[in-house]
């Protein structure tokens, strides 16, 4: 099978699975609904049914999809950036930095909402970006810039932020529920305003990443070679780092830390459709969104009480990851 038909097949199958996921999200939940209810929604809108299917289930499914897509795109960018399949939003400290911001906001009682973010969400977003800028600035010292330094600085800064987060949560033992939300993620309180907050940024980053994909391909040959071939390496690197940080911080701000999506999904998509970044970026986004959509379906339907989604992504993602690694060898 040629690569081209492989890609077409990937897109067809992924889109189908994705649409099926949305349909299932609309039909399943603690309140029993049937396909007939869905049809009736357009003819004779019962306010209760409408609120449940449109305001609660659809907004939640769209948000889960967007967050999954943002995390997978962020991971795909970082793996190209570091030329390392181990990279994900955790290694540059974005996720840990964002959750620290959220927990600080909660500890200070900062609840006010702005531009679709809750107070903690806004601080999560800002502190995620701050940590990455800090990490970048630190690794720029002495004129030189080395990818390895950035990676290690990010890991150290992330560990520090995680320690502070755990300390704050430990000091406020009454905020167990908050701790679970920020450390394991959830879409329990998803709403349209969150979708509106994250969607434009996500679309902008997706378009920009596809536009710059050729430069990312050149980076794989090494910075000197890419420079020699006419790619503005420094600017490209800055743009990609900023985009990946923005995407991950947005994701954490609306749904807490959700691990493994940014690591597994781009990796998996690369095995299926090859390493070229122009097709890889949108494909990773679609696959990541679909993956998280199904994880959220499990999170809210597996048990009578909702599970934090981070448990599902890791429990489903890790064995799958091991399988892929094993098969590849």
């Amino acid at each position: 099978m040629s690569r081209k038909t492989g890609r077409t097949l990937f897109w067809a199958v992924s889109l189908f699975i994705c649409l099926a996921g949305f349909l299932m999200s609309l039909l399943t939940g603690p309140v029993r609904t049937t396909a007939g209810d869905l049809a009736r929604l357009f003819q004779d809108p019962d306010p209760v049914l409408r609120a449940i299917i449109i305001d609660l289930r659809l907004s939640r499914a769209v948000l889960a999809f967007l967050v999954g897509a943002a995390l997978a795109l962020s991971g795909a960018i970082l793996q190209g950036y570091f030329r390392n399949p181990m990279a994900d939003p955790f290694v540059v400290g974005v996720s840990s930095g964002a959750s620290l911001g959220a927990v600080v906001a909660t500890a200070l009682g900062f609840e006010a909402a702005a531009v679709g973010f809750s107070g903690p969400g806004l601080l999560a977003f800002l502190s995620g970006l701050t940590i990455v800028s800090l990490v970048y600035a630190l690794s720029l010292r002495r004129g030189g810039f080395r990818v390895e330094t950035l990676l290690l600085t990010g890991i150290a800064a992330g560990a520090l932020a995680s320690a502070l987060t755990s300390f704050l949560l430990f000091m406020r033992s009454d905020s167990y529920e908050q701790a679970v939300f920020w450390l394991l993620g959830s879409f329990q309180i998803a709403e349209w305003s969150q979708v509106a907050t994250i969607a434009p940024w996500f679309l902008a980053c997706l378009l920009a990443s596809v536009w710059l994909a050729r430069d990312m391909d050149l980076l794989a040959l090494g910075d000197e070679t890419a420079q020699a071939l006419g790619s503005p390496v420094r600017r490209v690197r800055k743009a990609f780092l900023a985009m990946s940080a923005l995407l991950a911080a947005l994701a954490v701000a609306v749904s807490g830390i959700i691990g493994f999506v940014g690591l597994v999904v781009p990796h998996w998509v690369r095995i299926l459709i090859g390493p070229g970044h122009r097709p890889l970026f949108p494909a990773a986004a679609l696959a990541g969104g679909t993956f998280l959509l199904y994880c959220d379906l499990l999170a809210r339907n597996l048990l009578p009480a909702e599970l934090p989604i981070g448990i599902i992504t890791a429990a489903v993602g890790a064995p799958f990851f091991l399988y892929l690694l094993h098969k590849k060898r």
């Binding site: 939940g29 309140v31 209760v48 609120a51 305001d55 609840e111 309180i189 709403e191 909702e306």
Partner: protein, 306 residues
């Protein structure tokens, strides 16, 4: 405040009634415990969702059991509450289930996650959030406010009056008490959790004629240290238990801890059970817990019990 005003003449009342009917509930707005304005309904709501066990208990005490559409899975008192539809737990109530019950009043409490309560409000449902008081005096305003938002003000006033009478009776009975035994309260569960000075249980112990050993702790709930109990040397230990078996195993656990055998309460056997279910909910049954605690702390005055 309106009700306290002197009686206006009848025609004026009629005019007011006409205006009130024309301007639906415009003037009847009260703030909830988050400070958010809440327009009072004109009539008693028909489908109430309660997000906490003490609220469920008060609703039943106000005769509103038949109008409750949903409760949490922890709402088990009165026993009829167990048969009602469940919305989930305190921190994991399900928004979709709440919406499906189509409530005309949702009563939440401060222990529900704010994000969750906010999500319910954003669906356009009327939500009233109540705090838990720091002492038993806060029971009366809590009941009165639930009475106001459910338009059962007179029943609430009756319940508050009955509660106050019983509180006063305990106070009167203890007037002759000469001692104030030191009390250690062991909360339900693993570990030496007790109530600090900011908890309503601390107030309950004081009203029962005792002194809470952990009163100096500026917290609601405190994880205590074994050596502190030995140093405090309480005269009485109250164990919040769900069953006699729970009580016996918690008592044995305490007795087996090295050094605790020297504590006065364990030496003299003054280790008593309190009903965890009633004591851990900030509702009307706290008065029963208080009466029992008072008679256990001051058996010499037990004739004064009402």
């Amino acid at each position: 405040m309106r009700r306290a005003a002197p009686q206006p003449p009848l025609p004026a009342l009629l005019v007011l009634a006409v205006i009130a009917a024309a301007l639906p509930a415009a003037s009847q707005v009260i703030p909830d415990d988050l400070g958010r304005p809440f327009p009072l309904p004109r009539a008693t709501p028909e489908r109430i969702v309660s997000m906490a066990p003490n609220i469920t208990e008060i609703l039943f005490a106000l005769g509103l059991g038949g109008r409750i559409a949903g409760v949490t899975r922890f709402c088990d008192w009165p026993p009829e509450a167990k048969a009602l539809p469940k919305i989930g737990g305190l921190v994991d109530a399900n928004v979709e289930v709440i919406r499906s019950l189509d409530p005309d009043l949702v009563i939440a409490f401060r222990g529900n996650p704010l994000r969750l309560v906010g999500r319910v409000r954003k669906l356009g449902l009327p939500v009233f959030v109540l705090d838990i008081g720091g002492d038993l005096d806060a029971l009366a305003p809590l009941i009165e406010r639930i009475g106001r938002i459910t338009r059962t003000e007179s029943r609430a006033a009756g319940l508050v009056a009955a509660t106050r009478t019983r509180l006063a009776a305990v106070e009167a009975a203890l007037r002759g008490a000469r001692s104030r035994p030191k009390v250690f309260v062991l909360l339900y569960g693993q570990g030496l959790w007790t109530c600090g000075g900011e908890s309503y249980v601390d107030d309950l112990i004081a009203r029962a004629g005792g002194v809470n050993a952990a009163a100096a702790m500026p917290k609601k709930w405190v994880l205590y240290k074994r050596e502190r109990i030995i140093k405090d040397n309480p005269d009485v230990v109250f164990i919040l238990a769900r069953s006699p078996g729970d009580f016996a195993s918690a008592r044995d656990r305490l007795a087996r801890m090295p050094g605790l055998d020297r504590v006065a309460a364990l030496r003299t056997g003054r280790v008593y059970e309190l009903d965890e279910n009633a004591a851990s909910r900030f509702g009307p049954r706290l008065v029963e817990v208080l009466e029992r605690a008072a008679s256990l702390l001051h058996p010499e005055l037990s004739g004064g019990r009402t």
